[in-house]
């Protein structure tokens, strides 16, 4: 007997389950499809892997934002030191906290150099962490896709 009843049952409904990162960042979703009653069981280990992937995804987006800010700061410092070379004043107003202190040009140069070093080191660290996060995510993707194949979607929107 033809099972016409199958088409009526909600077996083709996909139930999207999303893990959103912070609202200010575009959401990255981990979608776990409840595709047609597939019987793959989810163990505690799988759950932990999914959780870990979600965390890494969030961290990845945070890192991208932080890297953007660090790069901007770097650029600003570059521009500042270029301007400094061009100016012929001896005293430069250098921002410390909320005020602009009158600081001799050489001292400003030194300070800017120090700040540039700090930001480049910071940027290097952030890039490194980003690489490591991406690598871990790739690992987890392999494992999770291996077990769940089509039932899970770990890609960005």
């Amino acid at each position: 007997m033809a099972d016409a009843s199958f088409t009526a049952s909600p077996s083709s409904v996909r139930f999207a389950v999303c893990v959103f990162s912070t609202p200010t960042i575009k959401h990255a979703s981990v979608i776990f499809y409840a595709g047609g009653g597939s019987e793959t069981e989810v163990t505690w280990e799988d759950q932990q892997n999914i959780n870990k992937f979600g965390r890494l995804n969030n961290r990845f987006h945070e890192l991208e934002d932080e890297i953007k800010v660090a790069k901007e700061t770097n650029e600003n410092l570059e521009d500042a030191s270029n301007e400094l070379i061009l100016t012929d004043e001896d005293v430069v107003r250098f921002q410390i906290g909320e005020v602009f202190a009158h600081v001799p040009k050489e001292e400003v140069e030194t300070r800017i150099e120090e700040m540039k070093e700090v930001t480049s080191k910071n940027l290097g660290k952030l890039e490194e962490e980003k690489e490591s996060v991406l690598a871990q995510m790739a690992e987890l993707k392999k494992i999770l896709y291996g077990k769940f194949k089509d039932s899970i979607n770990l890609e960005e929107d």
Partner: protein, 191 residues
Amino acid sequence: MASSSSSSSPVVTERRGIPGAQFVEDVQTYLTQSGLDVNSALAFLQERLQQYKVVEMKLLAQQRDLQAKIPDIEKCLDVVATLQAKKGTGEALIADFEVSEGIYSRARIEDTDSICLWLGANVMLEYSCEEATTLLQKNLDNAKASLEVLVGDLQFLRDQVTITQVTIARVYNWDVHQRRLRQAAGDVKDS
């Protein structure tokens, strides 16, 4: 929000007021243990999800506040350090500061031992340079520590959200599967 006994899943039951999501080893057992039918279970899980979202919003707001506070404190520390450095030389520090938007004025800061810190709530206290540095440093350390704890809480919360969402999907799945089986059994019986 009492969590029913779990089937030997290693879960942290709660963290700082956030209830832990119970991990479901087997949907059938979960449903019989809790005595709920599929729709009530789904409704319960959805409600839990909403509660988690509310807490997440709150924590995110707190995190944003802290993240704004930390650079502020660091800037203050900078200024205090500069004043301290100038102390030895005997020359005054000339600084341009903002009086109002777009309007700046010049200030001449003589060699001084005392620094006034704004503590909030319309209170400003005078400190010596060292005391000011110590206080600001302590505030900075506290803020950073709070931020760390907050980030940990957020991670825990997001994990619970993921677990709940996966559980919802699985319960739904299981239900669809059961309907299919019933349909198939019904067909076999009828034909």
